[in-house]
């Protein structure tokens, strides 16, 4: 797909290129990183072989805190029920 970008973790940098781990055993070693300021350990969004952005993990985490706040009045049982509904089986 064309405008799809996947986040992956930079594990090695050689000049303009980086080795990026996308999880689940997928590692590509020729990702162009010249258009971003990436360090080893950063998560980069990769599109068609080059990194378009360094993912801002703090922002991603802030969202979660907001949702935790939003759903805090819901009981643990409800949350569990939602989860099992999604995976399609009982406890």
């Amino acid at each position: 797909m064309m405008c799809v970008a996947y986040p992956g973790r930079v594990i090695e940098i050689r000049g303009e290129f980086a080795k990026v781990d996308f999880g689940a055993g997928t590692i590509r070693d020729n990702i162009l990183i010249s258009l971003v300021d990436a360090k080893i350990g950063d998560y980069v969004l990769v599109h068609a072989g080059y990194a378009i952005q360094v993912v801002d993990e703090n922002e991603a985490r802030k969202m979660i805190e907001m949702w935790e706040e939003m759903t805090k009045e819901l009981s643990e049982e409800q949350k569990k029920k939602d989860f099992y509904e999604v995976i399609g089986r009982g406890e």
Partner: protein
């Protein structure tokens, strides 16, 4: 938390069912207060995938609909460009492009059809592969059929600045998302009230280029990520803006989109490309929506080198009866097209939206949707 799996762990939360339920309730509450029908348009094939795959349309109240806009690069690439690429391929030039693009038909055939006739057509993952291939065989002429949106263009621009081999030229058919979305925002033909903007395109361009269109049209925009919770939250944010009657440009995809965008990528793009009017296949010519190589790179421009035609095809744009253009603009749902899943299937696609994995028809067919989603306004 294990250092190695930080982000994957965080992103798991973006599919959390409890949050989804809560957000759905909030969307229903606010939609009830708004009362009238609201049409929201997204302009990215990946958003359509998230919305269809997670069944988000089925969660929405009756008076809120989400339509797929022109967000699939393969679907909007003009038939003329494909025809010209096919012609060059049959003339003995090695044509390289992305997989989906090679299967999309021009007015007569696709690049894969040309390959079946003996042409040398190669599928590549990106522009880097194309350069490697051209370097390996210096005695052949190569053409890179460059299609995509502003997400894809910077990589090509970067490679051109770095220098490409003499036997490689580019048929540039990139489109600029802010201009296309902006034109749709300013026209009232489609009756769209609010927009979900493409997160990955805006990662490059930033929110800035949308501002002039926002000022003129005053329609709510939210820049959205691609997980189901991202999309639900974006819909809620849009409805909230509409309810409070305070249209804004908001950012939901804060982990990637900024106001300025990726400035480095923009600078590289500006050095290599100029914006010109761009034709969206079967729809219209959009102002400032196409990319053209600057004069100093004319020797790389296949349009100059081979004297190619451009613009609207003189032959018919689609096979008889196909309504691809209307699907691309979100005017109809795929099942309203008489060819959908009858003559035109993912195995034997007749139109571009059924070829590309970002095309609305392909996504709907892949999820076996045969009925029309309810609409609040026609």
């Amino acid at each position: 938390m294990d250092q190695k799996d930080r982000l994957p762990q965080i992103l798991k939360y973006y599919k959390n069912p409890t949050v989804a339920r809560k957000l759905t309730e909030m969307i229903h509450d606010i939609a009830k207060k708004i009362e009238e029908g609201i049409s929201i348009m997204h302009v990215c094939g990946s958003h359509e995938w998230t919305i269809t795959h997670y069944g988000i349309r089925s969660l929405l109240p009756d008076n809120v609909e989400v339509r797929a806009g022109p967000g699939c690069p393969v679907c909007i690439t003009p038939a003329t460009d494909i025809d010209e690429a096919v012609k060059l391929a049959l003339d003995g030039i090695v044509v390289m492009t992305y997989g989906d693009m090679s299967r999309s038909r021009g007015s007569k055939m696709s690049l894969q059809d040309a390959k079946a006739l003996g042409a040398d057509v190669r599928v590549v993952y990106g522009v880097q592969d194309a350069i490697t291939m051209a370097k390996k065989e210096p005695n052949k002429e190569f053409l890179f059929f460059a299609v995509g949106m502003d997400t894809t263009a910077p990589a090509t621009a970067f490679e051109i600045l770095n220098g490409v081999p003499n036997n490689l030229s580019f048929l540039v058919s990139y489109r600029y998302t802010p201009s296309i979305q902006g034109s749709v925002m300013e026209s009232n033909v489609l009756g769209i009230d609010a927009f979900i903007s493409a997160g990955h395109s805006a990662t490059i361009t930033g929110m800035k280029p949308y501002y002039e269109y926002f000022l003129r049209s005053r329609k709510p925009i939210v820049f959205s990520g691609f997980e189901p919770i991202d999309v639900l939250l974006s819909i809620y944010m849009l409805l909230k803006q509409i309810y409070e009657n305070k249209p804004k440009m908001e950012n939901e995809y804060t982990r990637s989109v900024t106001w300025e965008g990726n400035v480095k990528a923009q600078q590289v793009m500006e050095k290599v490309f100029d914006l010109e009017d761009g034709y969206v296949r079967g729809v219209a010519i959009f102002p400032k929506a196409g990319f053209r190589l600057k004069d100093e790179f004319r020797h790389l421009d296949a349009r100059e080198k081979y004297g190619l035609k451009r613009g609207i095809s003189e032959e018919s744009e689609y096979v008889a009866g196909a309504r691809c253009g209307e699907v691309v603009m979100g005017l109809i749902d795929p099942p309203e097209c008489p060819l959908y899943m009858k003559k035109c299937t993912p195995e034997d696609p007749k139109g571009a939206p059924m070829v590309s994995q970002e095309g609305t028809c392909w996504i709907w067919a892949h999820h076996k949707i045969m009925n029309v989603s309810p609409r609040c306004r026609r």
